[in-house]
């Protein structure tokens, strides 16, 4: 027996099917949590934000009209919930070890070489990502963590497609610089037309 698709689950949930909602939330929780984790920069805030996101999804169910993909809608809701959570605390995301001084822009600044393995250093990546402005960090997270395409990101963030493209390009560039791995200039404009 095939699994019902997202749209079928949403439809059932809108009609009051609790089990369908449970299945939908479980299907997407890990990815929502990942988005929240990358936007907030730490586990505790991510857990709170992911929970708020699921609650927001439930509250938004009656208004979902199927014009966008369910996953796009859910990630948009998750993104907004996460940003609300950060705004509520009136601060930018702070990676746990940035706060404790482990992340040091000077020591891993532009021009320095770092091993590729270091990119998998969670603390380093968290710190670098957290240091990006929201307008760059969020599109990069939605593209590289949520795996949304540019059109979906444009829809999720209510910004033009061209803006999404430029922000992702600039976000990636800034991320590379913060990780001390400046990109080859020849790659700076290799985004698809």
């Amino acid at each position: 027996m095939t699994e019902p698709d997202d749209l079928a689950l949403v439809g059932a949930a809108q009609r009051g099917d609790r089990a369908a909602l449970d299945q939908l939330l479980r299907r997407h929780y890990d990815r929502i949590h990942a988005v929240c984790r990358r936007i907030t920069g730490n586990d505790a805030d991510a857990a709170d934000a992911a929970q708020e996101a699921l609650i927001a999804v439930v509250r938004g169910l009656p208004r979902f009209d199927g014009r966008s993909k369910v996953s796009t809608w859910m990630y948009r809701v998750a993104t907004n919930a996460t940003l609300d959570e950060l705004r509520r605390r009136s601060r930018r995301p702070i990676a746990v070890d940035e706060a404790s001084g482990v992340f040091d822009h000077e020591s891993v600044g532009a021009g320095s070489e770092i091993a590729l393995d270091a990119l998998f250093d969670r603390d380093l990546l968290d710190g670098a990502l957290a240091s990006l402005p929201d307008e760059f960090r969020i599109p990069v997270v939605l593209r590289d963590v949520a795996d949304l395409d540019y059109g979906e990101i444009a829809e999720a963030l209510s910004i033009p497609l061209g803006t999404v493209k430029s922000r992702i390009a600039r976000g990636r560039q800034q991320l590379a610089e913060r990780l001390g791995n400046q990109s080859d200039p020849s790659h700076r404009h290799t985004e698809a037309p």
């Binding site: 059109g151 497609l161 590379a176």
Partner: protein
């Protein structure tokens, strides 16, 4: 589904070589902790139930649990800083002590800090300014054990959004045994001058508008009763686990 903004060419965007590695690292967040997943889903389903007329206390509980996590972190860090400060103060005051003793104290403090100490009554630690070095060591060891017990406590146990202190004379501590008993509590328990003074930091998580009634015993367990904004009463044990919750 037709999406007019979708451009298939963008799906095959050539990534800068280094970003392929970064992208892989970004997506390596890992599976969310099961406890967080279950709690979040339970909270969402509780909202769903509420919209469909099914009464549930899970929303409030989930909200509390979420706040607990935040305050665990914040107060844990604060308690660790306080503990280190006490050790530093006592080190200065006991300058005649041996290096070995000092190193031992620092180790204890470090363990407390590393463990993310939470729920330690800060006032009682600050009192260490007036006490001997050995007492400070004892306090820090106690702090460490508090941390250990905190880590094993359920998701509903931790420190609070607001931190009203119960300081001063001891209160009458009525014995309660059922949730309905909690509804018989007065707004505030009277102090009992016959009892020795106590100093207890109430650090459980309560919501805006919740009011601490006072110390009680619930089912033979020492507890703190809190009246919620909707007139209900929650009994927390001293580790902040919810022992009972009743609505009017």
């Amino acid at each position: 589904m037709n999406d007019p903004t979708r451009d298939p060419a963008l799906e095959n965007e050539p990534l800068p070589p280094h970003h392929q590695v970064v992208r892989a690292a970004l997506s390596e967040v890992g599976r969310a902790p099961d406890g967080h997943r279950e709690q979040a889903i339970a909270a969402a389903l509780a909202v769903f139930d509420a919209h469909h007329g099914v009464p549930s206390l899970d929303v409030a509980r989930a909200a509390r649990a979420a706040r607990l996590r935040r305050w665990n972190l914040a107060l844990g860090a604060a308690a660790a800083v306080v503990a280190l400060g006490v050790v530093g103060t006592n080190l200065l005051r006991s300058a005649g002590g041996s290096d070995q003793e000092s190193a031992s104290m620092m180790t204890v403090a470090s363990e407390a800090a590393d463990a993310g100490a939470a729920m330690a009554p800060a006032d009682s630690i600050i009192e260490g300014d007036q006490k001997a070095t050995s007492e400070s060591i004892g306090q820090l060891e106690g702090l460490t054990s508090t941390v250990a017990s905190t880590e094993t406590t359920s998701a509903t146990a931790a420190t609070g959004e607001t931190l009203p202190a119960i300081i001063g004379p001891a209160f009458v501590t009525p014995a309660m045994s059922t949730p309905d008993d909690l509804l018989t509590l007065p707004d505030v328990l009277p102090a009992d001058p016959a009892l020795p003074a106590i100093e207890t930091e109430f650090a459980c998580d309560i919501l805006d508008g919740d009011v601490v009634i006072g110390r009680i015993t619930y089912g033979g367990t020492e507890a703190v009763a809190v009246r919620t904004v909707d007139g209900g009463v929650i009994a927390f044990d001293l580790q902040c686990t919810v022992l009972a919750e009743v609505k009017p």
